[in-house]
């Protein structure tokens, strides 16, 4: 039973990691129906920026929560800026283009950003300091569930709630939903659709940066390639939960995290990804729009 519980917690952490990235994916997809392959790269850039800032601050003699807070803020600002710039360069000129063109543009952007960081920084793995302090109340449980894991789970839950609120109850959220449903109609109703799309990219990117900092600090190492694999898994999770749905992204990520964790624990880690993808196929066969996705009836 204790073993089960440990695997459950491991799956929870892993699922929350996926969720932090998947939330950004699902937001962008919800509004412009684009698989933003470069999203994983924003996560990576966020982590790198945070590493640089944190190292500078540590050398300057700061420590503890101040380093975490400051590097997080800088990472968020930069990730938002990158998200905005990428949208302006690689996706905005393609609004009227055939449906697959932005996807290829996104793959190209992803390859570009990876190599940009590779050349500007290094191809080696870099150690990432554990910025999350060990909370004293977690002390007795540290060997089962560490402070950084707790932090990831809590931040994921909070992000999900804030985003849901944002989309459901604010004016901007309303505008987002309107733009997602019918861009032309939204424009006619006086919504600045371009600005709404940019805002969505910025929000998605900031979430990726938060994820980047927390996850890197939990794992302890980064390199230019971390965004790609995490991005694909997060995207899978978002689809599993029903892409475009905020709670769906979190639920999908958790289901994926638990599947992988239990598959490793009780069967074999050799096939953990096979289990994950088989589950995806099975769920999509019975619920073609994902767990929480709404099956749209097409009107002709």
């Amino acid at each position: 039973m204790e073993y089960f519980f440990e695997l459950f917690l491991g799956g929870l952490t892993r699922g929350s990691i996926y969720a932090l990235i998947a939330l950004g994916y699902t937001m962008v997809y919800g509004i412009i129906e684009l698989i933003n392959f470069a999203h994983g790269e924003i996560y990576m850039i966020g982590a790198f920026t945070a590493l640089i800032v944190a190292s500078l601050l540590t050398m300057a003699g700061m420590d503890g929560m101040a380093v975490l807070a400051l590097s997080m803020v800088v990472a968020i600002i930069y990730a938002g800026a990158y998200g905005l710039t990428i949208e302006k360069i690689a996706y905005k000129p393609l609004r009227q283009a055939p449906r697959l063109s932005p996807l290829i543009s996104a793959i190209g952007m992803s390859i570009f950003l990876q190599n940009y960081v590779l050349l500007a920084q290094t191809s080696d793995f870099l150690p990432f300091p554990s910025l999350v302090p060990e909370f004293s109340f977690m002390e007795p449980y540290e060997h089962i569930f560490s402070s950084s894991e707790l932090m990831i789970v809590v931040v994921t839950a909070v992000s999900m709630l804030v985003l849901t609120y944002l989309i459901k109850f604010t004016k901007m959220g309303k505008a987002m939903r309107a733009s997602a449903q019918d861009r032309t109609m939204a424009m006619l109703a006086g919504i600045n659709v371009n600005r709404i799309i940019s805002t969505t990219f910025i929000i998605g990117s900031t979430l990726a940066a938060v994820g980047g900092v927390l996850i890197a600090s939990h794992i302890g190492q980064i390199n230019f390639y971390i965004g790609f694999i995490a991005g694909i898994k997060a995207f899978t999770a978002a689809v599993l939960g029903g892409i475009g749905s905020i709670p769906g992204a979190v639920l999908g990520s958790l289901v994926l995290g638990w599947t992988e964790s239990f598959a490793t624990g009780y069967v074999s880690s050799d096939y953990e990804d096979v289990f994950a993808f088989t589950l995806l196929v099975l769920i999509l066969i019975f619920r073609p729009a994902g767990i929480l996705g709404k099956t749209k009836t097409q009107k002709v």
Binding site: E6, G10, G265, S269, E272, D273
Partner: protein, 370 residues
Amino acid sequence: MKKLMTISIAALALSLAGSALAADTIKLGVAGPHSGDLASYGIPTVRAAELAVADINAAGGVLGKQVELLVEDDVCKPEIATNTASKLVSDGAVVVLGHICSGATKAALGIYNDAKIIVMSPSATNPALTQSGDYPNFYRTIASDDLQAKLGAEFAVNTLGAKKIAVIHDKGDYGKGYAEFAKAFLEKMDNAEVVLFEGVTPGAVDYSAIVQKIKHSGADAVIYGGYHPEASKIVTQMKKKKMDTYFVSDDGVKDETFIKVAGEFAEGVYASGPMDVSNLPLFQKALKEHKDKFGEDPGAFFKEGYAATVALMNAIEKAGSTEYAAIEAKLRSEYVDTPVGKISFDEKGDAIGVGFSMYKVIDGKYVEQK
């Protein structure tokens, strides 16, 4: 079509023969990854060849001719390696130093074998390369993986006294091969038991599930086959979960980057690597040359690359010709002094006189365990 093919083959043969006749230099091909994410494994060998050849040329060359390097990139991909190999053959390489990765080497060897060219790798450690007998033209200056796995298994059981062992790998060619050999050796010993044999997915976001599984299996030592990025993640999570299981690993982990990344968690990790030769005068000479020319310490497989260049050139000189059979005979009969020690080669192509030892991380450094 057939006639055209014959003509073109004839033309190709002629052009090859022509270039061989006109050659007034001895051409040494150097192949490996010189760009891409594995470039750091390939470039040191190129530098080693440059330095060794500069020395040889300054001393009058080989068979009275100057040695010329043909450097080609294969990015460690089998499908590119065949292109690289055919390019080297077309360009008239007499012998080839390389390739770096085992997979790429296997793909390329057939092309060299058809052209009767001897290939010597400083780094391809896959046992099948020498032991299967499929690659008669292959030699290497590094010991093969099964020796390393044997060392790891024996060290874990006999020296550390582990009874239950979890064997973990990264599903890659190198890591899984090492793990399988380790498992085979462990199963032959009667005082040890393999309690877990599994692969982890490289690049996965975390490894807590497999770490829990290791803990649950009650293993008192982990033997890990693979490279340092995954190893440092696993070691870190094991230490964070307050586990005191021994961690024994391979040459892919015996890398300074591992200690840099895992930091304090790296302490006490065991990893095997080529025997410490830092006291050999030839090694010190090569090291100094590298520092003088490139201003930094050499990277992975530098000394093996240097040794292979020296061994190949020595064999050609002693053979008195660039004939395949003559070089082959001299490689097997002559002992030569190199930065990895005094070496020769057995019929299979493995170097005699090189081996592995076990290292332990103590105070942020790998220290050889005697």
